[in-house]
Amino acid sequence: MPAWVRSGLLLSVALPLVACAGSQSALDPQALQSEQIRHTFIMFLAVSGIVWSCVTVVLGIGLLRRTRIAGAPLELHPPFETCAGRIILGLGIATTLIVLVLSFVSYAGQRTLFAKDPGALTLRIIGHQWWWEVHYEADSPHNSFATANEIRIPVGKPVKVELESADVIHSFWVPSLTGKMDLITGQTNEIQFTAKKTGIYRGQCAEFCGLQHAHMAFAAIALRPDEFERWREHENQSATSPTDTLAKQGEELFRGRGCALCHTVRGTLAGGQLGPDLTHIGSRTTIAAGTLPQTPAALGAWIADPQHIKPGNLMPRMPLQSGELIAIIQYLEQLK
Amino acid sequence: MKQTIVRNVGELPTFGFGLQSGPWWGAISFMALEGMGFAIAIGVYLYLYAVNPTWPIGASPPDLWPGTAETIVFLLSIIPNQYTNRAAHQQDLHKVRVWLVVMSLIGIALLILRGFEFAHLNTRWDNSAYGSVVWLILGLHTTHLATDLGDTIVLAVLMFTAHAKPRRFSDVTDNVFYWNFVVIAWLPLYVLLDWVPRL
């Protein structure tokens, strides 16, 4: 088939899909891997489109044909029967060939998709009901740190994510970057991708994991490599002690009201392990696994009544006076 | 629609053995699905065996003697079982009665041995996945053993009462057939449970 026919065909099936691009869309690839997948997908889509059209057209013609001879049901025409038999056999063989070719196309795509780059930046992500624990692993322990619900990655550099689960099965999925991979209890999976453009890409847990499966999202922020290094440098630091009095009060309340039982703020006495690490919560874009934007108002709403916003999640509602709440918000906000 | 009679089947018998009989096909269908059940259970065992670095997990392999003794009894039981079969085909009521009693006794003996086997598995079902699958497999086979024993006893009772009619002989042959299945199903399980953990 000439190139222009092919590209025209691809375009005609692909065009309606362009409209669907968004920050969490498989059709808006921003990484080598997701591009590869879209490429494979378009090929399959084109073949399917052709097959379906042929089937319906032939069916339509068959129904509308006017040259039928009336007769008893068993008055068959042997020449037609043999001819039809041959055509059916031919189509069967054609189907076999097509699916074999598609299998190879698929496998080729799979090879590219899962190609491993030994020099990749390594992240370890542990799924929790219903948030993401993130570890940046580096050659030196000084450069390894934990965060949650948001990952930042350098553009143009391969990133490897090791996936584990602390409870049930979850699935790591940032459609703009690559396909998904499950986080399975008792086993470690791996996935690699290389972002091509800077931007904020939304990811979401794709394996049903209980009550708040719907609210288990995260942000993947692709930065220029130098920005990324700067961010990593900063993120590696412990929290700085608050300077204003309100925030200071907030820090104390954070410990006094039990928050520290579940949350870690590096550099302070707060070392809880049951909830997300909050060392740099103030610099994140969202809170509660992508459920709310990271704003003082949203933080307040969340801490005041997490069960209202995300019913069933594992952070209890803590009894706080509104003054205390404001202090805690103030404290968290400055944990940049 | 008008009907024309083209054949009279009045002379055909009213029951048959083996391939001819409906219940036989029913029995073989059930064996097929139960055999599949055993195959899946074996698959579970081998899967767990493959994914675990140590096997058996936190236990020593089962003691050999109960399983081996059972295997021997199972294999020997085929002989009286075949006699039962022959007697049933000959429709010899007296012999069938005797052999059914013998088969019932063998079944009871095997159930007792099975009790020892559970006791000598050297693991509990809640110790580890190894214990669980071993108990599952043994339990599955014991259910078959127990149901077939129940069936044999009921048949024996029937044969000693007014219900000992010719068509019961066909039922007896089906029971014989099923017993062979229980025996054959045991052999791979014996190897799996008693020998694979010693590999």
């Binding site: 899909l17 129904l63 039928r68 049901p73 049903f208 | 055909l12 009213t14 029913g26 996945a129």
Partner: protein
């Protein structure tokens, strides 16, 4: 062997016409009254109940679907709480798969297969009655639990460890697992009955190459059930054991493995979808031949396709697990095997199109649904081929793209043929025709409603919408397509309302149907509509694949069966030569009692392991009661 009793016995060759008919009717009739109804072993009565019950579950499952569609119609709707939503979609999926789709296919088989092969009752009629009761009790158990807020909420495949005791401490997962056990027992029983009926009870002369295609399809399905269901039995049993007596099958900290569950589930789950689809193709072949006014082209090709699909379906389960981190090459092979199943499916489609091409199609409602089936199913099949590709699946797995795929194949591939089958066989079962005018409304509403409801889901999936989410935010941009989809679902639901209205109206006012209102070719049309209790006054002899077309006026039959007691003719496996006149069981209350005992056993055992101990004796007693000879004539030989 033949005894003195037999000589004196009256045979059907001594009687003719009405006399014979009344006599046989007296023998085969189900006793009247409530007790009679509970004792019935007539495959037609049980089949009818089975069909009605399965459709009742369709309505229930469909109403849940409507709830989901209302919830998802816009962003951040609050009709259902997350807890309820999770129960609702799990109940929807489980009800549709286990209480509607599989049983309804079996139900049609229970009704039709004995008629199509020309026998008087299904093999093991009491087992058949038992099967129905187990299905009914299992379904009621699930729905009553749901009413008490212990409906399962772990998805229709209940992945561990979410379904383990630690993460689902309530009884919800046990309810799910035990409902599986109920329906599996029911399905396995029917499978055995179908196999033996087809193997041994075919009318004389119905050689293997004269078996109607629906019967072939059901035979293949029965084997699929036989070999696939043990896997889920082992799975659900081990899950219950984990939850109840702390075995460790799925506990990674003690050597268990959570992927084991997925292997066991999908080793069953994939064949399961063909257990639903293959019978539907059988229905298509039957309807198509009648309304194309010629036999289906490529009978051998279709039979081979069915068998090939059956075999292949056991080699694909891993395509549901592409993102669990399995070895890449292995996954790639499962891509190829999954796609290969397009070949037998395609062959069938080609044969049907060729049949229509050469035929003289009569556009009655059943045919409309078959045409709709072809158009929709091919889309679903092709989206199946897409998700079979590992790279594509890593994107669309667990998104609405997959939801779209499986509704296209399930509804397009199975429900459309099924509704066609309802229009087609309704006159046989009920003696009256369904209204053709309402039928057309039904079809067009269904066709457009379905596509409006489910096509947008493909796009939603690609736009990143995961499945099983109870809500989403407006920023995601999914709301408009979801609204469209919900509107489509409402139209689709309306089509079912039309069907329901049509059935109720036609039961009373429909045009009375004669024996063979469509001028079809297979044996079920050779008897009255609805058929008498004995099905046929004399067992037909088959000399052609389309017996009623080969000779529309004269039906060759055999004589010599008993006119005093229930007797069926057994024939040989391959060439259907008469072999035995076998007694067929009388009505009995024991299957019901056994089902009750089993139900107590099953439900009890999710609360305490001791139920296995005290639940066994009642089961044993009822079983002995079931098989104990009653001293009636048939047992006396």
């Amino acid at each position: 062997m033949s005894m003195a009793v037999e000589q004196k016995e009256m045979r059907d060759d001594a009687l003719h016409g009405l006399q014979l008919a009344t006599r046989l009717e007296g023998i085969w009739r189900t006793p009247s009254g409530l007790m009679g109804a509970l004792m019935s072993v007539d495959h037609k009565i049980i089949g009818r109940r089975y069909i009605v019950t399965a459709f009742a579950f369709l309505v229930l499952g469909g109403l849940l679907a409507i709830l989901m569609r209302i919830q998802l119609a816009g962003a951040e709707q609050r009709l259902l709480s997350p807890d309820l939503y999770n129960q609702v979609f799990t109940m929807h999926g489980s009800t549709m798969m286990f209480l509607f789709a599989v049983p309804v296919m079996e139900a049609f088989a229970v009704y039709l297969v004995p008629l199509m092969v020309g026998t008087r009752n299904i093999a093991f009629p009491r087992l058949n009655a038992f099967s129905y009761w187990m299905f009914l009790f299992g379904g009621c158990f699930l729905w009553i639990s749901f009413a008490f807020n212990v409906g399962p909420d772990v998805g229709w495949f209940a992945y561990t460890p979410l379904s383990s005791l630690q993460f689902t401490p309530s009884k919800r997962a046990d309810v799910w697992a035990q409902m599986i056990t109920f329906t599996e027992v029911a399905a396995l029983a029917v499978a055995v009955e179908i196999i033996v009926t087809v193997f041994k009870q075919r009318a004389p002369g119905m050689t293997l190459d004269r078996i109607p295609l629906f019967v072939w399809a059901m035979l293949v399905t029965a084997f699929l059930v036989l070999f696939a269901m043990p896997s889920i039995m082992v799975a659900s049993t081990s899950l219950i054991l984990d939850r109840l007596v702390s075995t460790r099958f799925y506990d990674p900290s003690s050597g268990g493995n959570v992927l084991l569950w997925q292997h066991l589930f999908w080793f069953f789950g994939h064949p399961e979808v063909y257990i639903i689809f293959i019978p539907a193709t059988g229905m298509v072949s039957m309807v198509l031949a009648t309304f194309a006014r010629r036999p289906v082209i490529g009978y051998p090709a279709i039979v081979l396709s069915l068998i090939a699909t059956g075999f292949l379906s056991f080699g694909l389960w891993v395509h549901h697990m592409f993102v669990t981190g399995l070895p890449q090459l292995g996954a790639g092979l499962f891509t190829a095997s999954s796609m290969l199943i397009a070949v037998p499916s395609g062959l069938q489609i080609f044969c049907w199109i060729a049949t229509l091409w050469d035929g003289r199609p009569v556009y009655r409602t059943p045919l409309l649904f078959v045409l709709g089936f072809i158009v929709i199913f091919v889309i679903g099949g092709l989206s199946g081929v897409m998700v079979a590709s590992v790279p594509i699946d890593t994107q669309v797995h667990d998104t609405y793209f997959v939801v779209a795929h499986f509704h296209y194949v399930l509804i397009g591939g199975a429900v459309f043929p099924l509704i066609g089958a309802v229009y087609y066989w309704f006159p046989k079962i009920c003696g009256r025709m369904l209204s053709e005018r309402l039928g057309r409304w039904n079809f067009w509403l269904a066709f457009f409603g379905f596509n409006i409801a489910f096509f947008p889901m493909h796009i939603l999936g690609l736009m990143g919408m995961p499945r099983r989410v109870y809500t989403y935010t407006p920023e995601m941009g999914w709301d408009r397509l979801n609204l469209l989809s919900s509107v489509g679902a409402a139209i689709f639901a309306l089509s079912f309302a039309v069907l329901l209205a049509n059935a109720i109206y036609s039961l009373r006012r429909g045009m009375p149907a004669n024996d063979n209102p469509w001028d079809a070719s297979t044996l079920e049309w050779a008897t009255a509509s609805p058929p008498p209790p004995q099905n046929f006054d004399r067992i037909p002899v088959v000399t052609h694949r389309d017996p009623l077309w080969a000779d529309p006026n004269i039906l060759p039959v055999i004589a010599g069966l008993s006119a005093e007691r229930r007797e069926v003719l057994l024939t040989s496996l391959a060439d259907a030569e008469p072999q035995i006149r076998e007694a067929s069981p009388e009505p009995s209350i024991w299957p019901l009692l056994t089902a009750i005992a089993t139900t107590i056993f099953f439900i009890g055992s999710i609360f305490t392991p001791w139920a296995v101990v005290w639940g066994t004796p009642p089961m044993a007693i009822t079983l002995i009661g079931w098989f104990w000879p009653t001293g009636s004539k048939e047992d006396e030989e």
